[in-house]
């Protein structure tokens, strides 16, 4: 078994910031595991601009923002970056098992920082009555299909929920020549950033239905339509307000969930409601020496805050390892 002072799982903005801060605070023997073939995490598919306003005082795209950190981390000694390395197991005494094409490895760490990001809630997690045809995507998955794979998921789209990813994808679909028939949001206002409401929805005259929910999905093989209905303050349907929207595609933008199954395996206490670690202090968990940062600690709105708090996580790990003074 290999031994390392610090193992970081995840090479998105949070993992990279944590690694950089740990190194700068004196940790010398760092292994960073990233399951993808490149660093940058979710930023790689965010080709729109609006990143880095606070941290770099510049307007960058997601990949540009990631690139700055990738250059920096590649320039630092003592950080081994292992790509296509999928952490699949973890124990309370800090042994991480990971798979790479061709090998399975175990590494014993003195400290661990988890920077595994989050996943999108799916249609399955909010019960929506009706059929289960093709054409229902989480917004981030649709984003990946368009921006990375060059595929257009559909031509007549309804977006469920008004999270930032959903809003950004509404504009994206319009720019790709598709029709966006509406955004349906159960709350009285959007959870997304104001600038996204303005630039992605209002500027494109896309109807947005607040206080509405989807009550049924139609279509045997492919989505054909859905029913939307107005709800009262307790989210109960108001009868007589139901109307149908024709569509071949439904995007779900109904929230994100921190990805923490590995530390749960290691016995770290997890809040069952939020799927975040139970924590008294930023980045700390119920197990000393196991830290969590970025979107796997809690869901952040903007990447600059992720970077700020993840730098702090790197320092915390250095303190724990006796390399830096608190």
């Amino acid at each position: 078994m290999i031994e390392r002072e610090l193992v970081i799982v995840g090479g998105g903005p949070s993992g990279m910031a944590a690694a950089i801060a740990a190194r700068e605070n004196g940790v010398k023997d760092i292994l960073l595991l990233e399951r993808d073939q490149y660093l940058g995490g979710i930023l790689n598919q965010c080709v729109h601009t609006g990143f880095g306003l606070e941290y770099f005082k510049e307007v960058l795209t997601g990949p540009e923002y990631a690139d700055r950190f990738i250059k920096k981390i590649r320039g630092l000694p003592d950080i081994e970056i292992s790509l296509r390395s999928f952490a699949v197991g973890m124990t309370g005494d800090k042994v991480v098992t990971f798979l790479k094409p061709g090998r399975m490895e175990r590494v014993k760490a003195r400290a661990i920082i988890m920077a595994t990001g989050c996943r999108e809630k799916t249609r399955e997690m909010v019960h929506i009555a009706g059929t289960r045809p093709s054409g229902i995507f989480s917004a981030g998955f649709a984003q990946k299909l368009i921006n990375i794979e060059g595929l257009l998921p559909g031509k007549e789209v309804v977006i469920v929920g008004s999270g930032d990813i959903g809003l950004i994808m509404a504009r994206r679909f319009v720019l790709e020549g598709a029709k966006v028939s509406g955004v349906v949001e159960i709350q009285g206002q959007s959870r997304g950033l104001v600038r996204n409401i303005v630039q992605c929805i209002e500027d494109f005259d896309i109807p947005i239905y607040f206080n509405h929910k989807i009550s049924r999905i139609y279509g045997r093989d492919r989505v054909e339509a859905l029913d939307a209905v107005r709800v009262d303050e307790n989210f109960n349907e108001i009868s007589g307000t139901k109307f149908a929207l024709k569509c071949d595609t439904i995007l779900m933008s109904v929230g994100l969930i921190p990805e923490n199954e590995l530390i749960e395996m290691a016995g770290v206490a997890i809040d069952r409601k939020t799927n975040s670690p139970v924590s008294e202090e930023l980045n700390k968990t119920s197990v000393p020496g196991i830290f969590v940062c970025g979107n796997s600690f809690k869901v952040y709105d903007i990447v600059d805050s992720v970077t700020r708090d993840s730098l702090a996580a790197g320092k915390l790990a250095a303190e724990y390892l006796g390399r830096a003074r608190a």
């Binding site: 798979l99 094409p101 399975m104 999108e120 799916t122 019960h127 093709s134 989480s138 990946k144 045997r220």
Partner: protein
């Protein structure tokens, strides 16, 4: 026109079991399935329980075939490398009246030949089923109840049958059957399908929900299939140890009630409802169904929460009266109906197959055993079901086992390619075989990659990759190079 000795209509668990059983003999056999893949009918959406045989009407086909099917399933799953787990079941009583009812069920079921039945008390329940409501006063324990993955069972049966020369015609809907008068050396049936016409000496109708229509094609009426919907809800794998047995309430008149089920993939499942519907394609779920299921299972396991649900589906039981219809039809000699195969049709399938074999024999088909019948099937590897050490060894042998495609269920590129080599042509087919896309993120992470692997291996453009056959394409077009 191509000729077969036996044509089987329907590639669900019934047709697959019959095909595999008959493939022991020197016969030319074909299976016709209208869907793009096997097991896309009722056999994909059920509870996956190999029932012990309790709760069936004495004297019925269901009663006899269920007990026998449960026994046979063990050998078949061993031969075919299908995971069968004997988890046992509990029918739970909450009142004295229900407890007395259990005693009656016990006696009846023992008469049907269900082995090992035993009444257990609250102390036993507390120890062996700790999450069960403490209001339970007794339960009937049936040790022989088991679980399988229903679609993996069908795929294994068919793979093995294909290895023994059964021909499978997929995407081939039987549209018309003509039965000709008997004449020497000329098969009696002409079968017209969406992919060509065939002749057959015998026709087995195992068409599930459409068995009434297929039967009418051959000029045999007498029954109608009514779909009875069952909505089911899957819970997160984190709740795997919620229950240790399959839990039943007391049965109702039309069903075994709403259960807490262990599944062979680990996710517990709750359901099914049982409501007659009119549309054989209506696989929708409803808010009422969800509420009904939650309310009922909470009586048994109070800690189940709506948040635990990660997926849901519904299935339609093909109901034709109270019992199965399995018989040779004298009005169309050589035509055998295997219809109304509602629950426990999954359990009974191996016994149904033997019964069909005997009916064929009684009606003039000569059964001569092949010298080489391959009874075993090479089991596929699933990383999710083996310990890390073993996974490490596989990865050393073949690097692509270490190339993880589905993060939630830990499915490698190698397993995806194997599934395609074994016949998967759609995303659902890959999901059922490997579990890729079946976990928490429902394919948000891995679908794009799986589409690419499938496109590459089948030499199709990405726009032709489907969820479950034509009409269910995933993407509409490839964007130009802009």
């Amino acid at each position: 026109m191509k000729e077969y000795d036996v044509a089987i209509v329907g590639g669900g668990v019934t047709g697959a079991s019959v095909a595999r059983e008959l493939s022991r003999y020197r016969l030319r056999i074909a299976v016709f399935e209208k869907e793009e893949e096997l097991a896309f009918g009722v056999s994909k959406s059920n509870s996956g329980i190999i029932h012990s045989g309790t709760q069936n009407q004495p004297g019925s086909l269901k009663a006899k075939l269920c007990v026998r099917g449960n026994l046979l399933m063990r050998r078949i799953s061993r031969e075919l490398g299908v995971d069968f787990k004997e988890v046992g079941s509990l029918i739970v009583a909450f009142t004295e009246e229900e407890r007395l009812e259990l005693l009656k069920i016990k006696k009846e079921s023992e008469a049907l030949g269900v082995p090992g039945l035993r009444m257990v008390d609250p102390a036993w329940l507390k120890k062996h089923e700790p999450n069960l409501s403490d209001k339970a006063i007794a339960a009937l324990y049936a040790p022989t109840t088991g679980i399988v993955s229903p679609y993996r069972l069908v795929y294994a049966l068919c793979e093995n049958a294909a290895g023994n020369e059964v021909e499978f015609h997929l995407g081939s809907k039987v549209k018309k059957i003509i039965s000709l008068p008997a004449a020497e050396n000329i098969p009696r049936f002409k079968i017209f399908t969406s992919k060509g016409d065939f002749r057959a000496r015998y026709v087995i109708n195992a068409a599930g929900l459409y068995a009434d229509e297929v039967s009418k094609m051959a000029g045999v009426g007498g029954f109608e299939i009514t779909p009875r919907k069952g909505e089911e809800f899957l819970l997160d794998k984190k709740r795997e140890h919620l229950v240790n047995h399959v839990l039943y309430p007391l049965p109702t008149k039309i069903s075994k009630g709403i259960l807490v089920i262990k599944t062979s993939d680990g996710n517990p499942m709750i359901g099914p409802t049982a409501h007659d519907v009119s549309d054989k394609e209506d696989l929708s779920t409803s808010d009422e169904g969800l509420r009904e299921v939650l309310e009922n299972v909470k009586k048994m396991i109070p800690t189940i929460r709506e948040d635990d649900i990660i997926a849901y589906f519904s299935g339609l039981r093909p109901v034709a009266g109270h019992d199965f219809i399995i018989r040779h039809e004298a009005v169309a000699p050589g035509f055998i109906n295997v219809a109304g195969i509602q629950s426990p049709g999954l359990t009974s399938a191996p016994a149904v197959a033997l019964m069909v074999r005997d009916i064929l024999k009684d009606n003039g088909l000569s059964l001569r055993k092949k010298i080489f019948f391959h009874k075993y099937r090479r089991k596929e590897n699933h990383l999710f079901s083996i310990p890390f050490e073993k996974a490490g060894k596989l990865i050393k042998k073949d690097a692509s086992y270490g190339d993880i495609v589905c993060r939630c269920e830990m499915v490698s590129a190698k397993e995806i390619r194997d599934a395609i080599d074994r016949g998967a042509t759609t995303l659902d087919g890959i999901k059922f075989r490997t579990r890729a896309q079946a976990g928490r993120c429902h394919g948000s992470f891995c679908t794009a990659r799986i589409m690419k692997i499938l496109a590459e291996k089948t030499d199709k453009p990405l726009t032709e990759i489907t969820k479950r056959g034509k009409g269910s394409e995933i993407v509409k077009e490839e964007r130009g190079n802009d």
